[in-house]
Amino acid sequence: MKAIVWQGVNQVGVERIPDPELLLPTDAIIKITSTAICGSDLHLLDGVIPSMEKGDVMGHEFMGEVVEVGRDVKRLKVGDRVVVPFNIACGVCDFCQRGLYAACDNSNPNHRMAQALYGATSGSALFGYSHMFGGYAGGQAQYVRVPFADVGPYKIETDLKDEQVLFLTDIFPTGYQAAEQCGILPGRDVVAVFGAGPVGQFAARSAQMLGAAHVIVIDRVPERLAMAEAAGCQTINYEQEDVLVALLESTGGRGPDHVIDAVGMEAHGHGPGHALDMAERVTGMTFDRITALRWAIMSCAKGGTVSVPGVYGGLVDKLPMGAAFGKGLQFRMGQTHTHRYIGPLLSRIEAGEIDPTFVITHRATLDEAPELYKTFRQKHDGCVKVVLNPWA
């Protein structure tokens, strides 16, 4: 089959590799009909998430048709059309039972590494996301092996198009969880979203669905800001204005009640904090650039929430902890517990509350994907979200 393969830092390519096979009786094989490139994939491309190996298959946002199931698969059948959450969860451990699928105890075969770094047993494995997160081959390919097939894949039984439901695999639940965990008081709370990438776009629209009185989106890419404006959000271009001043002014001096960091560890930025992050990164002492997180903490109103869907991987420095403490902020963060949002968010799509296709700017083939990785990373050509058809 054809697949997008990680060939080294800054290098992905299309390769012909063997088709996946069932390895355990609880596995299924899915023929992928649509797959997407995610901002998280850029962290792999840039080499800031450790433990990728040459030859790893990329991709964690995919859907398709079940073509093969293992002996112990009960719920899924050959022919089912499914969306597959990007996290791999066992469904039976204490964390899965509590709906904390991203904290699953049992899905990561390579639990050692995370334990050494994070001081606890590993969280859930992820598709196509480095060996630290399990090393499972991803879904920017024609076929994929899906473990715990009765737990993750969600059947789509209506005639919604792939593009309308594809983002249930990651970015819609991710944006939604980011907004939900703010505990927005409808009609009252103001929410600011740093980052107008796909995650930020869904976070902003989710905040609106959850009743935010006002949503402000911050980025520097005009097309992305325009996309947020189209949904009725206020926008701030942090290259044209002092973002902290602008946020205070937009909220009558209080600051936003909740701030979402939908940027993560590769934040672009300026100022002394950013210079320090870069110096540290060059000397190899830390990976994470935290401009957006600093802004989120500094701008947030007293008693507010800093919600962090943006990915962080290692150590950070000069985090304004005093500001967070002084304002009594609450922090919410982590990988999305995707499994628990797919049903409810599918209902919202079916009810016409949101049409997730708004975010798609590019449609392409697998052969075109390496080029589009670059376009997406450089935010050229108005690129916000790329959807790939592996059979085109």
Partner: protein, 263 residues
């Protein structure tokens, strides 16, 4: 040797003799240098460990012992401890441990355990070449059903060791907390154990892997795997033999699946 694991001293780590102190300083420096040449996770870990070693060597205390959950008691015995919570009732988990001949399924360093009588048993463990295996006789020193099981090697054994497993119900109906403590006398003093640990042969990591594998076997009935999956590498789709420290459980399962068209 004490049957109960001796509580570790209050100081973090263990006191270092002068020679080891110098050696640790050198090792710390070496690790940091090799850390700088690495990428990713190993870099973070090596830099951290290297820095820690240098620092602690200066303070005269064995840092890795603390950082890596290796403790030593006053007699120089090495102790490794690990705990896990398993979503199964206490009596089920206890029964798995009480069946001594089944212990090699849980603890991968063991080759076999033969029960000799109600109290005594013969344990055989894997060992590096040319020995290949070592064995000793052990006795059960405590057996409190559903709470605790303890054992130790009989006097005169080639490897003096003891161990205990504690079981208790996890709060909130979360199954069983299993705490395992193993004590043994390493060949070359504390430094030997530490060096071995860095080489990946240290028992603390092995015990952690073992308990994780045991937990998953209990909760899922198998262990997750990516062994044999496709990739863009030359060995794509080929199953590698499981490393000795991580035997794969129920390896046969994958072959019993059915493919489309064969139903």
């Amino acid at each position: 040797m004490n049957t109960k694991a001796v509580p570790p001293k209050k100081l973090p780590g263990t006191q270092l003799p002068g020679g080891e102190r110098t050696a640790l300083g050198v090792l710390g420096g070496t690790l940091m240098v090799s850390g700088l040449g690495q990428s990713g996770v190993s870099r973070l870990i090596l830099l951290g460990l290297g820095g820690g070693l240098g620092y602690m060597a200066a303070r005269g205390r064995n840092p890795l012992a603390t950082a890596l959950k290796v403790d030593q008691n006053a007699q120089g015995d090495v102790q490794v401890r690990e705990a896990t919570t398993i979503g199964k009732p206490v009596d089920v988990i206890y029964a798995q441990w009480r069946d001594l001949s089944g212990l090699p399924r849980i603890m991968s360093h063991l080759e076999r355990v033969e029960v000799l009588d109600g109290r005594r048993s013969r344990w055989t463990a894997k060992a590096p070449a040319p020995m290949n295996e070592v064995s000793w006789e052990a006795e059960i020193t405590a057996d409190e059903p559903g709470r605790r099981l303890a054992w130790r090697s009989l006097p005169g054994s080639s490897i003096e060791n003891s161990g205990e497993a504690l079981f208790r119900a996890a709060p909130g109906d979360r199954g069983t907390e299993v705490i395992v403590r193993l004590t043994y006398r390493p060949p070359g003093g504390s430094f030997g154990a530490i060096a071995a640990r860095i080489l990946g042969e240290e028992p603390a990591q092995q015990l952690r892997d073992d308990l994780m594998r045991f937990k998953r076997e209990q909760e899922l009935g198998y262990n997750p795997t990516v062994n044999g999956q496709t990739s863009g590498r030359a060995d794509a789709g080929q199953r590698k033999p499981a490393p000795a420290a991580q035997p794969e459980v129920r390896r046969d399962l994958g072959s019993e699946t059915h493919r489309k068209g064969e139903q």
